[in-house]
Amino acid sequence: MLSKLLTLVRKELLDAARDKRSVMAGLYYAIGTPLVMCALFMVLIAQLASPEDLDIKISNADRAPDLVRYLGNQGINHSDSEDAAKIRLVISQDYPQQMAKAKSAQVTIIADNSDEKLQTSIRRLQAQLQAYSSEMGSLRLVARGIDPRVVRSLQINLEDQATPDSKGGMILGIAIFTMIYSVFISGMNLAIDTSAGERERNSLALLLSHPLSTRQLVLSKIIAVTLFAMLGLVLILLVSKLAYTLVPWQELGFSISISPQFMALMLAIGLPVALMAASMQLFVSFMAKTFKEAQSYLTMVLFVPLALSMAASYNIAPDALQWLPVSGQQQALMAFIKGREIPMLQLLVSSLATLALALALALGMERSLKSEKVIFGL
């Protein structure tokens, strides 16, 4: 019994290995996604950060030399280059007059605040002008014999509960999403090939003519697809672990690291998901009449678990989602990586639901394979 199953699984894997192109396509995803994502983040970080030496165009600099030197000490300098003109600081003509009379002197920042590349720099310039203004205000009070503390009536403290890991939660959410996605995508081609494909090659009927139970056949296919899905997961974890350390996250004020503990948890949680994904893909493929049809159906069906995962990763999910398959596991993984307590009950319920779904689909498949309509794709 078991030896037959093993033989079947070996046959499936051998088949898969023969058609390298279509099967490897799924695994390419697992290797490529983290690399592409990290490359994108590197570009993004470089663009979003304000350059250490920020060049801007200052008009009427001669009206406020002290202010200009103050900004210079903070790395904000005047330049005539075209790039610098994207942020302009206009010092009003009557700046010295207003200052001398202890009135507010006007300075104007002219820039496009919708340009993501400028936003940090604009905020930085604003903050430095504010700092200069408050320093000057404090010294005006000192010059009048008043303690500047009198105008600081509130002292606002912020105690941020975040850890360096949880600050990167959004990015990690996306990373976990890509990993769960890889579980679905890595085995997909194999699932189609081994079901709809096998039927098109007319080898399915041949296989069934052997002294085998449908259950053994279904099980062997599920195991083969699951193995591929898990292989994809292992690959994406390994590549992620390497790639994510290369991105200078610290410039955004947090760190992202894929720890061995997280990898182990991801693999444990990923197994039921892989089983479910395999059963679902095989079930749908068998339902389809042709290879082509299977591909289109699967793409549509895949949308459901991925929407669940996506909703969980962006934290827009209603509470009910943490009990559902895929999204429940994803939230547990995110809780782990943010250093919070893993919601064990929810994880258990969603994992069991995932397994139950896999079982139901497997049984459904077993029954449908007893019908000639399905076997011959009529």
Binding site: P96, Y132, G145, D147, P164
Partner: protein, 524 residues
């Protein structure tokens, strides 16, 4: 009692006379926080165990820090005697790429808390913290580590008080009686052993040191005693081992002269205050004869209060203002106004010094009395007495140390440091505490050292210029090779205040607003 009146008089007194000088660093007037407030020390969870670690928050910093303490014997020769807790805080690296390393930032004073200044250190060492922890230790006797604070007689009102009549010896005696400590155990060497224990507890193999002001003495002792645990050293505003801090009196005179020179050489300042040196001499002569008595308003509460402006308060306020470029910019105006018998700007500057920048004056005395007083040679004594504030400083310290009775450090304490560790020495040309010549002295037997002088900086080069980037570069490469001091020369001077409101040249139309003949309309 309003808050400013409860300010610590003896502290203010000692401060204005014998401060080694960290007040400037620790930002009486940093750009955002013009005044220091007492620090809120919130612990997320109670530290119950002996070497407990917990997360905590400090004022001005939203990040969760790792805090803890070690318990040590106050006197290492009496291990069963009084136990004290040495507290530390770790600003965790954003991305921990060098878990075996940390930057230990050592505060000045002596007597300031490093942890209280966590936000300042975090601000200047942002780059270092991206990849390495920053370690702050409250040296024994300061901050949270069994602080030796001297609270003075609350009936003394700092504004009304005539400090020339104050009995410092009695004040010191009163403070000593209140302290639950053996004040002879709070010197630099005892503290050094604590630092090393903290390093070991936290498991860092190598430390990068950053010492500011008095903190440079701790850093140098570390270089002498535990060089194998150091990767690099930065001495910012250095007090060389060979130097008694009492030589500071000469540095202060020098900084006064540089202020007068800078005003003379700046066209707008020279035009506005053509006789600033005479103004200063005039006020000094006048106040030396008798303090100026007037009715004023409390700078904080606004309530009427008598103001006794003594020479000591006047010079102390100026001296403290010289620590930071922004308060320094107000000085010509303040001196000129004082010469016109308007002491409001000086009062404002004086009020800034009243909280003493969180100095633990008992610890301050333990260090200075044990490590510096005995080095007072007759020549240095004569020089110091001849300087502006030297006489008061020596008298005050003499009386305090007579009460404190700390045994003198051994003679080899004052040996220059011989080391081949990569060492960056930073000096500010305008420094009123540790002038560039002290930096040269520190180099004597350092074989891998570079001394950079920032022409426009005062005390604490890393806080005012690109000096902090040089430190980050040194920490990253553990080598002085590529350090380029050019950026220190960038013109970041602050313009002098020309009246109580502006630093920019006063246009004819605005400047003469009080004169009858002033034109009514402004220029467009």
């Amino acid at each position: 009692m309003h808050p400013s009146q409860s300010a610590n008089v003896s502290k203010a007194y000692l401060l204005s006379r014998c401060r080694l000088g960290a007040i400037g660093l620790f930002a009486l007037l940093s750009a955002q926080a013009l005044v220091l407030a007492p620090l809120a020390w919130a612990e997320a969870t109670a530290t119950g165990t002996e070497t407990g670690d917990a997360s905590c928050y400090v004022e001005g910093l939203a990040d969760r820090l790792k805090c803890g303490f070690i318990t040590v014997a106050e006197n290492p020769d009496k291990p069963a005697g009084r136990q004290i807790d040495i507290h530390y805080a770790v600003l965790p690296a954003i991305k921990q790429s060098h878990p075996g390393e940390a930057l230990l930032a050592i505060a000045g004073g002596p007597g300031q808390s490093a942890i209280d200044n966590a936000a300042n250190f975090d601000r200047i060492f942002t780059k270092v913290r991206q990849q390495r922890d920053i370690l702050l230790i409250d040296q024994r006797g300061t901050g949270r580590s069994h602080p030796l604070n001297c609270d003075s007689d609350p009936t003394l009102e700092p504004l009304a008080l005539d400090d020339t009549a104050l009995n410092i010896g009695a004040e010191a005696g009163r403070c000593l009686a209140k302290l639950d400590a053996d004040v002879t155990q709070y010197g630099s060497l005892q503290a050094l052993a604590d630092f090393e224990l903290v390093r070991r507890k936290l498991g860092y193999d190598k430390l990068h040191l950053y010492g500011i002001s008095y903190g440079t003495r701790m850093a140098q002792l570390y270089m002498r005693r535990y060089p194998e645990h150091l990767a690099s050293v930065t001495l910012d505003g250095v007090v060389p081992m060979q130097q008694s801090v009492l030589a500071i009196a000469g540095a202060i005179d020098r900084a006064f002269e540089l202020l007068l020179r800078d005003c003379r050489e700046t066209r707008a300042c020279q035009a506005q205050f053509p006789a600033l040196a005479d103004d200063l001499t005039l006020v000094e002569t006048r106040l030396a004869k008798a303090p100026n008595l007037s009715q004023s308003r409390d700078p904080l509460t606004g309530e009427p209060t008598p103001l006794t402006m003594t020479l000591g308060k006047f010079l102390g306020a100026i001296r403290m203002a010289l620590y930071m470029p922004n308060t320094r910019a107000l000085l010509p105006h303040a001196i000129h106004e004082a010469a016109r018998e308007n002491y409001q700007p000086i009062l404002g500057l004086y009020a800034l010094t009243l909280d003493g920048a969180g100095m633990a004056m008992g610890m301050h005395a333990s260090v200075v009395c044990g490590e510096d007083m005995q080095r007072l040679t007759p020549a240095l004594k004569a020089r110091t007495r001849a300087s502006r504030i030297g006489r008061d400083m020596l008298d005050g310290l003499g009386q305090t140390c007579a009460v404190w009775r700390v045994p003198a450090a051994s003679a080899d304490f004052a040996e220059p440091i011989a080391s081949d560790l990569p060492t960056l020495v930073l000096s500010g040309e305008l420094d009123p505490a540790t002038p560039p010549s002290w930096g040269e002295l520190a180099l004597a037997r350092l074989t891998h050292a570079k001394h950079f002088i920032a022409p426009h900086a005062t005390h604490g080069v890393a806080f005012q210029s690109c000096g902090n980037n040089l430190v980050a570069q040194l920490v990253e490469s553990a080598s002085l090779e590529d350090l380029d001091p050019d950026c220190l020369s960038k013109d970041v001077r602050r313009s002098f205040y020309l009246n109580a409101s502006t630093v920019e040249t006063i246009p004819a139309s605005a400047g003469k607003q009080t004169a009858a003949a002033a034109p009514a309309k402004e220029q467009p």
